[in-house]
């Protein structure tokens, strides 16, 4: 049994939006292990993004306990969360969120600059297949290319854990599969944890574990002993 990286105990998240109270998470319990690829599946509004934000230190739970090793994320202050995001977590978004005025290389460098033990930018560009596009600005890249830059940026600082929020959501099949391949390779080659949120059930075939979410709660967790290679995923 691998060591647990993240342990969540009865985590709740309540948003107050004006007069409406939204129970985004209604008490979830789970753990994430080292070196595993976890897919979180669920319909819109099931709480999967909230879960990811809380794991990633972008948000804090309203109730419950959440640990990253010995770090209590539920009671961490802004500075601790920043350091956590800085050193331990990599993020990938559906909409890439690249700096429009930095080239591919520079976007990755942005993350390298603040990292303690960064990976080499050239190697990363090679791995995501963009060595020849290193000096292009985001406006000169396709959506798939932009997402690959975003992944390279997320990996560059060599985090323990990569959190991906619908990384293929805006991509066509070919680009999407390419992105998934990179994520899977990262998990295997660098022995890192990758958490991938999606509502695309097909993607779960490549996961070590699948967490199904529904109405702010974990519906069930399934272990997949035979994950398929990413290039075989089709939708």
């Amino acid at each position: 049994m691998a060591n647990s990286l993240i342990v969540a105990k009865n985590v709740k998240k309540i948003y107050h939006m004006g007069e409406v109270t939204v129970h985004a998470l209604r008490g979830v319990n789970f753990s994430l292990d080292e070196k595993e690829l976890v897919v979180v599946l669920g319909p819109s509004g099931s709480g999967k993004s909230t879960l990811l934000n809380i794991i990633g230190g972008m948000d804090t739970p309203t109730e419950g306990e959440l640990y990253y090793g010995s770090l209590a994320l539920h009671s961490a202050n802004g500075r601790e969360l920043t350091q956590y995001r800085r050193n331990d977590v990599g993020f990938i978004f559906q909409f890439y969120n690249l700096m429009p005025n930095l080239t591919a290389y520079e976007n990755i460098n942005l993350s390298v600059q603040i990292a303690k033990d960064p990976l080499k930018i050239e190697d990363l560009l090679e791995q995501v297949g963009l060595s020849d596009r290193r000096d292009h600005f985001p406006s000169q890249l396709s959506g798939g290319e932009q997402q690959r830059v975003a992944i390279a940026r997320g990996l560059a600082k060599n985090p323990t854990m990569l959190l991906c929020d619908e990384p293929t959501g805006s991509l066509d099949l070919a680009s999407g599969v390419q992105v998934l391949k990179i994520l899977q390779a990262f998990c295997q080659n660098y022995e890192k944890t990758v958490v991938l949120i999606t509502h695309n059930t097909v993607i779960s075939q490549m996961a070590d574990r699948v967490i199904y979410m529904k109405d702010g709660m974990i519906d069930r967790v399934e272990r997949n002993d035979q994950p398929i290679p990413a290039e075989k995923v089709r939708w």
């Binding site: 993004s49 920043t82 800085r86 969120n97 429009p100 005025n101 000169q140």
Partner: protein, 802 residues
């Protein structure tokens, strides 16, 4: 419904709109207050001049029988002449060590509608033969006098007691300076007293039946120069000293100048504020329209017309313009009254308040609306160009190209990634970059120039009194005297270590068609008490052959060293004699405008023997003991004053230190104006940085949030924005310094008068203060931005599609 949307939009970005609003408010308040005040001041001045029959011409002469004055009024072009005796006397007050002087002006009580008549503010009419007097209201107030109080003066060497029966005001003394060396009136130590002709003759028996001063008004069609030319030969025989027009009269000159300055300020300042506010609004609306692309598309799809949509975005400008304009205008109206009263008090003009004028309120409002609608229209017009379907699609991602600066390899290599982002952003938004650049350039220049103005005043006064005129006291004689005689008498007075004669002669200097009436100073070649200094501050000896001119005088005469001038003086022995003199050198002179010569050379020109009109004195250490008033050297001064109290020949004794002390006191009042200007500079700078930061925040919140998700601290993220601003600011500050110098130069040219010249250089200290104060306000504005970044919500920003 759209109005509601607008108000909510404004509320959600209230910081920036507030900055705009404050700028408009200040701009319009200044506009209304200063326009109304200058209007009131000029209206008050005109009606005062009219009511008191203010003279168009002024004549000073030796002495003239009163019966001959009437004859002059028949002269072509002259409407009315009034003859008077004007004498300066010292007030005898044993409790006060410093010299207090009164200029006595005789009034012919019989004469109806005197020229330069006195407006009686309180008290009663003068009665002849009882040594009654009116004094000017400022002297009255400053010395806390009471009506029917006695006032001892030393006239003709004897002590007399005048009874104050009234307090008056005269257009001739709205800005009462004792002599041209002063810049501010000092009513505590100098005032005007008016007394009946008969009583004047009692104080000065030699003036019986005679006058030494004429004032005249002109017929509406008459030309002053022509009248002057006709008057000169007529008056030559009476020892004519000078004839000058109203335009050269000190009080009138200063008052007119000041009104013009206030008028200029009432235009320039508000425009500056409105302009900055207009640009900020333009940028904000432009940004708003970009942000609300989708909303515009939906509105268009609903069937809103282009006009309706434009009107909607214009309404933002309209609201800010109207609210700021109205509030500013009303604040201005409110301030106008106090400002007018303040100015009128300063200039000693009776208040004729026109009442609240809505004209400027409306004009200001129109002005601000015009500026805002213009910038608002340009900011929002792109909303019209979009077709509904196009508007609902997100805009194409900004196209990025490498900037020119990236070719400068070593520079680019020095930058962090944040620095690169900043530089690229700046080159992407060139218009905005230029606006920040311009705003900070102007702010820093205004601050530096203002600071230097403070120093200028300092220089003006202290240069003259601490470096040029270094005497401990100056003894003024009633008439030119044989200097050797006086000198030998002064030598016997214990405590006086040095005495130097000064011969001050009114002369007319002409060069081609240019002509200036100035005081020629005859100074001893080895003078240590009056130092003629060149522009490097080194001492220059007064020439035995030729003349030294102050730079302003040389400019006005259009001469340079080597040119030859014609010198004429009423004191020349032979009539119509013109004496050629060569200009040897020009020197900076901040107070007054003089010509300088060796004293013996002046005496040679006058051909009346060795003369002096005053003596400059230095006291010994013993005499330097601290006097009763705490002024160093006043021990010797008191003795001297006691000794000459009764003298016929001595008009008064001035203390050098007293003059510096007075100047220092007066300067403190000037200081507050300086701070107002510095404040203006700071406000502009703050508003620019503050609002541009908020625009950057709203525009790039996504980028900034992404950086925070990457694990950058708020400070690191903030550094992108601050680097951007400092990067522009450094260039702007660098450009601001030459601009400050340029403004100073313009100001020195614009504001210099015959009374004082302003130095044209900005000092290093002022430049430093300009940099420091502007940088501080930039820093302060950025603090607010930093706190906003700390509160940036990562999730909200990143989840949405741009």
């Amino acid at each position: 419904m759209l109005w509601r949307k607008m108000f909510r939009d404004i509320m959600s970005n209230k910081g920036s709109y507030l900055a705009c609003l404050v700028l408009v408010l200040i701009g319009l308040a200044v506009f209304t207050a200063f326009s109304i005040a200058s209007n009131n001041l000029s209206f008050s001045k005109e009606s005062f001049y009219r009511d008191q029959n203010f003279a168009h011409g002024f004549i000073e002469l030796e002495s003239m029988p009163r019966s001959d004055v009437e004859g002059l009024s028949g002269m072509d072009g002259i409407a009315r002449v009034t003859g008077r005796t004007v004498k300066e006397v010292r007030v005898h007050d044993p409790r006060r060590a410093e010299g207090v002087y009164l200029r006595l002006v005789s009034l012919d009580l019989e004469e109806a509608r005197r020229v330069n008549d006195v407006l009686l503010l309180q008290g009663e009419a003068l009665t002849s033969g009882e040594l009654q007097a009116w004094v000017d209201n400022q002297f009255f107030a400053a010395n806390r006098l009471r009506l029917n109080q006695g006032l001892d003066v030393i006239a003709g060497g004897r002590l007399h007691e005048l009874t104050l029966v009234g307090v008056g005001m005269s257009p001739e003394f709205t800005y009462a300076l004792r002599d041209f060396k002063e810049i501010y009136p000092d009513p505590e130590r100098f005032g005007i007293a008016f007394l009946p002709q008969e009583d004047m003759e009692r104080l000065f028996p030699e003036t019986r039946g005679r006058v030494n001063d004429l004032v005249f008004t002109l017929e509406p069609w008459a030309d002053f120069e022509r009248v002057k030319n006709r008057l000169e030969p007529e008056l030559e025989g009476y020892g004519l000293r000078t004839i000058y027009p109203r335009e050269d009269q000190v009080s009138h000159l200063v008052l007119t100048e000041e009104i013009t300055q206030i008028q200029n300020m009432s235009r320039a300042l508000p425009m500056l504020f409105l302009l900055v506010a207009g640009v900020i609004l333009y940028i904000m609306l432009k940004r708003l329209v970009e942000q609300q692309r989708g909303q515009i598309g939906i509105l268009k799809a609903f069937g809103y017309t282009d006009t309706e949509i434009t009107m909607h975005y214009l309404s933002y400008a309209l609201v800010v313009g109207t609210v700021g304009g109205l509030a500013g205008g009303i604040l201005g109206l409110w301030l106008a009254h106090s400002l007018t009263s303040l100015l009128l008090e300063f200039f000693n003009v009776p208040e004729v308040f026109e009442g609240i004028s809505l004209y400027y309120l409306l004009l200001g409002l129109l002005l601000s609306l015009a500026v805002f609608l213009f910038s608002g229209y340009h900011g929002s017009k792109q909303a019209l160009k979009l077709k509904p379907a196009e508007a609902m699609r997100p805009p194409a991602p900004p196209v990025m190209r490498k900037t020119l600066l990236e070719r400068v390899g070593f520079f680019w290599g020095m930058l962090t990634i944040q620095g690169m982002m900043a530089v690229r952003n700046l080159s992407r938004n060139r218009g905005r970059t230029f606006f920040i650049f311009l705003g900070i350039t102007i702010s820093s220049a205004v601050v530096a120039m203002t600071w230097s103005m403070n120093e200028m005043i300092d220089k003006l006064v202290f240069y003259q009194f601490e470096r040029v005129e270094t005497y401990d006291a100056k003894m003024l004689l009633n008439a030119p005297l044989d200097r050797n005689k006086v000198e030998s008498e002064l030598q016997h007075i214990p405590g006086i270590t040095r005495s130097e004669p000064l011969l001050e002669v009114p002369v007319s200097l002409s060069h081609r068609w240019r002509k200036e009436d100035v005081l020629l100073l005859g100074i001893h070649r080895e003078s240590r008490l009056y130092n003629i200094l060149d522009k490097n501050g080194s001492r220059v000896e007064p020439p035995e052959n030729g003349v030294i001119l102050s730079q302003r005088l040389a400019e006005k005469l259009d001469v340079s060293p080597g040119s030859t001038l014609e010198l004429d003086s009423p004191l020349l022995r032979f009539e119509n004699d013109v004496y050629p003199v060569q200009v040897v050198q020009t020197i900076p002179q901040y107070l007054g405008m003089n010509a300088y010569m060796e004293i013996s050379e002046v005496e040679e020109i006058l051909a009346q023997g060795d003369l002096a009109t005053s003596f400059m004195l230095a006291f010994s250490q013993a005499g330097d003991g601290v006097g009763t008033n705490g002024i160093k050297g006043s021990g010797g001064l008191t003795d001297l004053r006691d000794r000459f109290r009764e003298s016929d020949m001595v008009a008064g004794i001035d203390s050098g230190e007293e003059r510096v002390k007075q100047a220092r006191e007066l300067m403190e009042t000037f200081g507050s104006m300086i701070y107002i200007y510095v404040f203006i500079g700071v406000i502009i700078c703050f508003a620019i940085i503050y609002s541009s930061s908020f625009i950057v925040l709203s525009e790039r919140s996504r980028e900034l949030a992404s950086m925070m998700v990457l694990g950058m601290t708020p400070r690191e993220v903030f550094s992108v924005i601050s680097f951007e601003q400092w990067f522009v600011s450094i260039f702007a500050l660098a450009a601001g310094m030459p601009l400050a110098q340029l403004m100073q130069w313009g100001l020195a040219r614009e504001m210099s008068t015959d009374l004082y010249s302003l130095p044209a250089e900005v000092s290093g200290e002022s430049l430093f203060m300009g940099l420091l104060i502007t940088s501080l306000s930039i820093w302060l504005a950025q603090r607010f931005v930093f706190s906003r970044i700390e509160k940036l919500s990562l999730i909200e920003v990143l989840k949405t599609r741009e």
